[in-house]
């Protein structure tokens, strides 16, 4: 009989959801999972808007029309990541978009990296939402890799997944995204190696959660209510989160452009018929 593969799990609440860190194999430091947990909690502490944090302090300054210093290193790194993914999603992922203010958004913000400060032309406030989960898993992943972990699966609320290395039995980590209204059916299956997966939907159990913010298209501030589900795989959790959000709120033209850029890793489903928008994505389903 094969020698059992050692496993270890850390479960906790953070980022408003349940986090699970599964480590496989004997490699790596003993306290690696705990260190990864602390990294996620540090992101939660910095990015939350549900209690006083570096982000709420920043928001207060920006809403008051003031220049805001970014002293918190975690928040600073998050803003750097946002700058990149905002670009990569044609501006469709925008944590500063706001229903109340027409011109609000990342584009109206000047991020002076050298001086570590932000100023905005109009009042804005950040709500990092799902991006925070992907970003937190990235930082936890970095901690685990640095600690010598070679095989691990990280989950934040089940809609954000990151894997380190190969599956413990070799090859990619297989995931199936169930149909939101029919759990026995799946929308798509993917295999990940050193990648992150993000799922965004306007339907399904998650969307029934209390206080869930509406999905908003940044430029015309349209609220997306049509039943849709977007799936994105990327090298980082930050990009995967931003991309699945962007796909979900995208107009047809930009959705097609985003999917065309990386057909194997980006999917958008108009539900309930579960037909993929782009033919490439439909092919990936077969």
């Amino acid at each position: 009989m094969a020698v059992p593969i050692p496993t270890d799990v850390e479960r906790f609440m953070a980022m408003g959801t349940r986090i699970e860190l599964h480590r496989f194999g004997a490699a790596g430091a003993d306290d690696a999972l705990l260190a990864a947990r602390r990294a996620i909690e540090a992101v939660d502490d910095a990015l939350t808007i549900h209690r006083p944090s570096a982000t709420t302090a920043l928001n207060e300054r920006l809403l008051a029309g003031e220049t805001a210093p970014v002293d918190d290193p975690v928040l600073f790194d998050a803003l750097v990541a946002i700058d990149a993914v905002h670009e990569a999603t044609f501006g469709l992922f925008d944590p500063a978009a706001d229903r109340r203010f027409a011109v609000a958004g990342w584009r109206g913000i000047i991020f002076d990296r050298a001086a570590a400060r932000l100023c905005a032309t109009t009042p804005v406030a950040f709500d990092f939402g799902g991006f925070g989960k992907g970003f937190a898993l990235d930082r936890a992943g970095a901690v685990l890799r640095a600690a010598g972990i070679v095989s691990a699966c990280l989950s934040a609320g089940e809609s954000s997944i990151a894997v380190i290395g190969e599956h413990p039995l070799g090859g990619g980590w297989p995931f199936a995204v169930p149909h939101p209204s029919d759990p026995d059916d799946s929308l798509v299956q993917v295999e990940l190696i050193d990648q992150s997966l993000s799922i965004s939907a306007t339907v399904g159990a998650g969307t029934a959660a209390p206080d869930r913010a509406a999905m908003l298209r940044p430029d015309d501030r349209a609220v997306i209510t049509a039943p849709r589900c977007a799936v994105a795989v990327a090298r980082t959790g930050a990009l995967a989160e931003a991309m699945s959000t962007a796909l979900l709120v995208a107009d047809p033209e930009r959705a097609d452009r985003l999917i065309d850029q990386d057909r194997a890793n980006r999917f958008l489903f108009d539900l309930p018929c579960a037909t993929a928008r782009a033919s490439s994505a439909r092919m990936a389903l077969q």
Partner: protein, 420 residues
């Protein structure tokens, strides 16, 4: 217990208090603890205490004073002879015994008073003590009315004598350790405390021949007590204020005589909500006909819960993600199949039954430590910082709760209190 054993357990007890008191933020949150636990070695020059009230509590207090290194019982007083008789074995054969506290005060030879009489007599006994030039240690609750509580604080300030109130949880290593861990952020931001003191007995004491029911069962009558509020809730309201680091802004409640309809005047069922700034709440219930949930303060934060009476701290543990659990099992069996993911990120919660982690347990002498701290304060003629403010707020909260229930109105925190 032998003397050596007691010294050893005393040392480990004090070490635990000191360890907890040394945590981040604890100097501000429990400034009295390190001072009390750091009390110098035994002294022959002990603080001479006269005890008024040698009932159940008074006798416990005497035994605790006897254990201290810096206090001694120098006289006892009770106007009910059988209780004096019961107390005599705990004091020296030559210790003077009085039936009237005024005679004890006139006789002199005391540095301080300890008061363990029925609630409605606290104010009089405390004020008489200050008038006699003594420092005073008085059992909780402070007094029967808020003005009396305030008068006691005021007189202590005016006479520059120490007033210390018996809230022993503030000296308990488990509570101190719980507070240290809460201050360290281990249970996240505290938003609610659910406190209860549930018993299943009448709370009635047998009345011997020759005395009145009101004398023995003073707790059950409104002249002498606010019942569950002053006798039990005060302790837990103190804990609530302490952990929230605030006094309530408002209280609402409902009280009834629901089960023990035996002629008592105080409620045997109370349910109250104390509001604190920022939307925080202490939800309090006390009753006398169901003991399932006993006495506890469930201190609830975003990352965990502390139950100090049980001595445990619980982390918020989310239920397992079933798909990932299946993946674990698959790997163990050498099997690989697609993990269904992206299901519910929101789930209805069921009570969690994880065992939690111990906050430390053992034999504690927190009541003794209160007196060592008091002795130290008397010697230095400086009250232990922070204690009286805690006690005053706890008593006011309990009495305000009584008023809110009596009137059926939400009452705001009084603005006329004495500043400490």
């Amino acid at each position: 217990m032998t003397d050596t054993n007691f010294d050893l357990s005393r040392r480990s007890f004090l070490d635990r208090v000191l360890m907890a008191a040394a945590g981040a933020g604890m100097t501000a949150a429990a400034p009295w603890a390190a001072i009390a636990a750091g009390t110098a070695a035994a002294t022959s020059d002990r603080v001479r205490i006269g005890v008024i009230g040698t009932g159940d509590r008074g006798r416990t207090l005497i035994q605790n004073i006897n254990k201290t290194r810096n206090c001694m019982v120098a006289a006892i007083c009770d106007n009910y002879e059988p209780h004096l008789t019961k107390a005599r074995p705990y004091v020296g054969a030559n210790t003077p015994v009085y039936a009237d506290h005024r005679a004890m005060l006139e006789k002199g030879g005391l540095d301080a008073l300890v008061i363990a009489t029925p609630l409605n007599l606290h104010a009089k006994h405390v004020l008489d003590g200050f008038d006699a030039g003594l420092h005073v240690w008085c059992e909780k609750a402070m007094a029967r009315t808020i003005p009396d509580c305030s008068a006691m604080v005021k007189r202590s300030q005016d006479s520059r004598k120490i007033l210390q109130i018996g809230h022993q949880r503030m000296f308990h290593p488990t509570y101190l350790n719980a507070l240290r861990r809460a201050k360290a952020g281990e249970i996240g931001s505290l938003t609610q405390i659910r406190a209860s003191w549930h018993r299943n007995n009448s709370w009635r004491r047998p009345v011997p021949a020759g005395v009145s029911d009101r004398q023995i069962n003073w707790r059950l009558y409104r002249d002498s007590s606010a019942g569950l509020m002053t006798e039990l809730a005060t302790h837990q309201l103190q804990v609530g204020n302490w952990f929230f680091d605030a006094v309530p802004t408002r209280v609402m409640g409902s009280g009834s005589i629901c089960f023990w309809k035996d002629g008592r005047e105080v409620y045997d069922h109370v349910a109250l909500i104390y509001e604190y700034a920022g939307g925080r709440k202490l939800i309090y219930t006390s009753l006398l006909n169901n003991a399932r949930y006993g006495c506890e303060e469930q201190i609830q934060g975003s990352k965990g819960t502390i139950e100090p009476e049980l001595g445990r701290i619980f982390q918020e543990v989310p239920p397992k993600v079933l798909a990932l659990q299946r993946m674990q099992k698959d790997v163990a069996r050498g099997k690989k199949r697609a993990v269904p993911i992206g299901g519910a990120t929101w789930f209805p919660e069921l009570p969690v039954t994880t065992p939690g982690e111990s906050l430390g347990w053992g034999e504690y002498d927190e009541t003794m430590l209160q007196f060592e701290g008091f002795g130290e304060a008397v010697r230095a003629n400086r009250a232990l910082p922070g204690l009286l403010a805690q006690a005053y707020a706890a008593s006011v909260a309990s009495l305000l709760g009584e008023q809110a229930m009596d009137r059926g109105e939400a009452l705001t925190w009084p603005t006329s209190l004495v500043t400490i």
